[in-house]
């Protein structure tokens, strides 16, 4: 390995590790589930990609490169699925700070689906709207 490729690899590894640290900080400091997911998904995509690129530069052999590429592609495929499921259940179970939401397209007037729509268990009816404080 030459020196310049090592420099690139360590830069990628340092950036990925810094994203891991910021994810931990955001998980501790942010107020509700959705914003904690916003912090926690930073290393899930970009951090893992950077670390995999750094590892693929450092490690020899095409086998390791393909395996790291497999991990990166799998993260890219599965992170939106799990984030979608978790955030939908979090919204339905009122783990979302409504006063921090700027846009709430589920809970606007006329959008409360009192019946059961959808085919997933997470699509169970949302809670009744809270009485507006006057």
């Amino acid at each position: 390995m030459t020196g310049s490729s090592d420099v690139v690899a360590f830069a990628c590894l340092l950036a990925g590790a810094a994203l891991c640290l910021t994810a931990g900080l955001g998980l501790v400091r942010f107020p509700d589930v959705l914003s904690r997911m916003h912090a926690g998904t930073k290393p899930q995509v970009l951090g893992v990609l950077l670390v995999m690129v750094g590892g693929a530069i450092r490690l020899d052999g095409w086998t390791n490169v393909w395996m790291l590429l497999l991990v990166a592609a799998f993260q890219l495929l599965t992170a939106p699925v799990s984030a979608h499921l978790i955030s939908r259940v979090a919204y339905r179970r009122r783990h979302v700070r409504r006063d921090l939401l700027l846009v709430d397209e589920y809970g606007g007037p006329g959008r409360q689906d009192a019946r059961y729509h959808g085919d997933e268990p997470g699509d169970a009816p949302p809670e009744q709207p809270a009485p507006q404080p006057s």
Binding site: A17, L27, G54, R58, F74, Q75, I86, R94, A114
Partner: protein, 109 residues
């Protein structure tokens, strides 16, 4: 190069410790799911960093397993919580008997 190694391990270890703090404290079940997901990703990143630093590809297949387990765990717990919510509903669509959300419980007490 040792400074880079110490910085890498310190940042990844710090992130994992903070995710563990959220896993222990985090008031609701979904907070713990998010913390577990992030913790597994940080563990995968730490294994990759270790493999890259030592140039030893032994732990590279473990990365695939950890990435798979993170997805399966978070999705299964999310669907389990959704099933709890479905069973707690009554016939007319009102969610009678739904436990109070943890944030509201902490805010009330």
């Amino acid at each position: 190069m040792t400074i880079v190694q110490v910085a890498l391990y310190a940042m990844i270890g710090g992130g994992a410790l903070l995710a563990l703090v959220r896993l222990a404290r985090g008031p609701s079940l979904l907070d713990r799911v998010v913390a577990t997901d992030t913790l597994l990703v940080i563990i995968a990143a730490g294994l990759a960093v270790h493999a890259a630093l030592t140039q030893d590809p032994t732990v590279v297949p473990v990365l695939v397993v950890v990435a798979l387990l993170a997805f399966v765990g978070s999705v299964s717990v999310a669907r389990y919580v959704g099933g709890m919510l479905l069973r707690s509903g009554t016939g007319d669509g009102r969610d009678l008997g739904l436990p109070v959300a943890a944030e509201e419980r902490e805010a009330g007490s």
